[in-house]
């Protein structure tokens, strides 16, 4: 008797210690996310190509203009994203001016709200704040969320709306009430009007409702589709057809299944514990219980990752799948706690094995910028000195902290753009915005439309050949080939400036007597 109570006491102590460690480790990931976000909020230039264009969409809206426009006329710009993120960023553009901080603040806030929503939901199911803290912390700990969360990108806002929609629709056990259906539908609409990838969650919600009550599902699905199609048609009408061109046709890109395979295997490698727990919930519900929206969402979101094979897509396409799996894993943990209640051996095993597994998961997503005063001592203790950023993803262009030299070199590029006469042709929008010039072109949009035979770049090429742009700033050179050839014929490189891990090539007109660039 005395031995068994001693063992029970030791087990409880060990479990408390392990859970304390879980909370500590995942809180630390939250702090690392905060460090990265704070660093990016202070960084004035594009960190990831395309951030400036999402800001530019908000700037267009703040001027009362559509960003879905004729890309064949000056300034040769159009957006390929739905408008909600950019509309919500408009007040921040008014507050901060045309600066990336507007979009980054919105995305960071959405990411933190997402972590809070997931943490609160899981905490409520399990009635254990430690598990809730783990779930919220796991959202921020995922390498993918960490990389994308603080960027001026619409993706995290979409995932927030998707999650809120699923939380609303799953409030009732059997079938959502009218109120839940309405709230869920509004959140789903918001997700879809933030980014097209939300179609995966819309399909998951429809499949769930169809499984539960097929007639009610159709009664919901048809009006939902009608409302959205009507809104789509109205925007298309208001933009003279450019909306459907840029939102649909420009998004039909080449598909490389090897890229999708690579990302699938990376996604599994990084989130194995969470994914196995989620898979266990799906299998359990498939054979021994009713399928919940959580399981269905996890399956659809995982299948949606296949879209990551599109040209221009990447790890962000797996964020919905990561969040869905975290929630499903939380559901399974709640069930395990329920099953083992009153069974001392099962309870003791769960109390030890679950936190150990979650600590193992923390190791799988390990990432750390090592050059921050708060993280440097940890990096030293772990023997990670000499590398600015460590990430279990391996090579990644995201996650490191920009340096003082990056900022200094960025201002050098701005100086070139400012001093050049006339408009500037810059592959990233922030160079033009800091120089108080109109950003010209959206390279990937031009490239996608060109590949799909929907772009005649003649007018743009004519302007390049006339050397109408005082300066050209290139980074990845994601332009249609004829545009790049025209730049090569009419402009000459005058400087290569490294910034944030990339080389920015500055080109000046080839005309012999350019006063600024002799």
């Amino acid at each position: 008797m005395a031995v068994s109570s001693l063992l029970r006491m030791l087990g409880t102590r060990a479990s408390s210690l392990l859970w304390a460690l879980v909370v500590l480790v995942y809180l630390a990931y939250g702090v690392v996310f905060g460090i990265y976000a704070a660093s990016l909020l202070q960084f004035p230039f594009d960190y990831d190509q395309g951030e400036g264009f999402e800001l530019l969409d908000a700037i267009y809206f703040s001027r009362g203009e559509w960003p879905y426009r004729d890309i064949e006329t000056y300034p040769f710009y159009a957006s390929n994203y739905p408008p909600l993120f950019h509309l919500l960023a408009v007040p921040l553009v008014w507050a901060f001016g045309p600066r990336l901080i507007a979009g980054r603040l919105l995305s960071t806030a959405a990411t933190v709200a997402l972590a809070a929503a997931v943490g609160l939901a899981v905490g409520r199911w399990t009635r254990r704040w430690t598990i809730g803290l783990w779930a919220g912390g796991m959202v921020l700990a995922s390498n993918y969320v960490y990389h994308i969360g603080p960027l001026s990108r619409s993706h995290m806002l979409m995932v927030l709306f998707e999650t809120l929609a699923v939380l609303a629709l799953a409030r009732e056990e059997d079938f959502p009430s009218r109120r839940s259906l309405l709230l869920g539908s509004l959140a789903l609409m918001a997700a879809g009007w933030t980014k097209q990838h939300a179609i995966v969650t819309v399909l998951a919600a429809f499949a769930y409702l169809l499984l539960r009550r097929p007639r009610a599902a159709l009664a919901w699905g048809i009006p939902f589709a009608m409302v959205n199609l009507t809104l789509f048609a109205l925007v298309d009408l208001a933009t003279g057809g450019y909306w459907s061109l840029h939102i649909i046709e420009a998004n039909i890109n080449e598909y490389d299944y090897r890229q999708a395979f690579l990302l699938y295997s990376q996604w599994f490698r990084l989130h194995a514990v969470v994914l196995l727990l989620a898979a266990a919930l799906v299998l359990y519900e498939l054979y021994f219980d009713r399928l919940s929206l959580w399981s269905i969402w996890a399956v659809f979101a995982a299948a949606g990752g296949a879209l990551a094979g599109k040209w221009g897509a990447g790890e962000s396409y797996f964020i919905t799948a990561v969040v869905a799996a975290i929630i499903a894993a939380g559901r399974l943990i709640a069930r395990i706690e329920h099953w083992t209640a009153g069974r001392p051996i099962g309870q003791a095993a769960a109390a030890l094995l679950i936190p150990v597994a979650l600590l193992g998961q923390a190791g799988l997503v390990f990432h750390l910028p090592t050059d921050h005063p708060w993280t440097a001592p940890i990096a030293r203790a772990l023997g990670l000195e000499g590398t600015r950023y460590v990430d279990t993803v391996g090579y990644t262009q995201l996650g490191h902290l920009p340096t003082v030299e990056d900022v200094r070199n960025g201002w050098r590029i701005v100086e070139f753009v400012r001093e050049a006469p006339g408009p500037a042709f810059t592959e990233e929008a922030s160079w033009a915005l800091w120089s108080e010039k109109e950003p010209v072109t959206n390279p990937t949009q031009l490239l996608n439309l060109y590949k799909n035979g929907k772009l005649n770049p003649e007018r743009l090429i004519r302007m390049i050949e006339q050397q109408a742009f005082g300066i050209v700033v290139l980074r990845a050179q994601f332009y249609p080939q004829p545009v790049l050839e025209a730049i090569g014929r009419s402009y000459r490189p005058i400087a290569d400036i490294p910034m944030n891990g990339f080389i920015y090539r500055i080109l000046a007109p080839r005309r012999p007597s350019s006063p600024l660039f002799p």
């Binding site: 169809l210 499984l211 539960r212 097929p214 299944y257 395979f261 054979y287 009713r290 399928l291």
Partner: protein, 64 residues
Amino acid sequence: MSKRALGGWMLGIAMLIAGAQIGVNWLGLGRSAEWGPLQQAALGVAGILALLALPLLWRDGRPA
């Protein structure tokens, strides 16, 4: 919808994926280095889906 009906749907989707491979082979893409691995992956997904579906067909018609 019952578990059995769900199993039927899953099996149907698995057969659709597997059937699409006939079309892929007819186009002569199946054995190419470019598309062969994708075909194998699709067949793998179809196989898993069918395996998961079979016990549902065998079990009773409880609601899914």
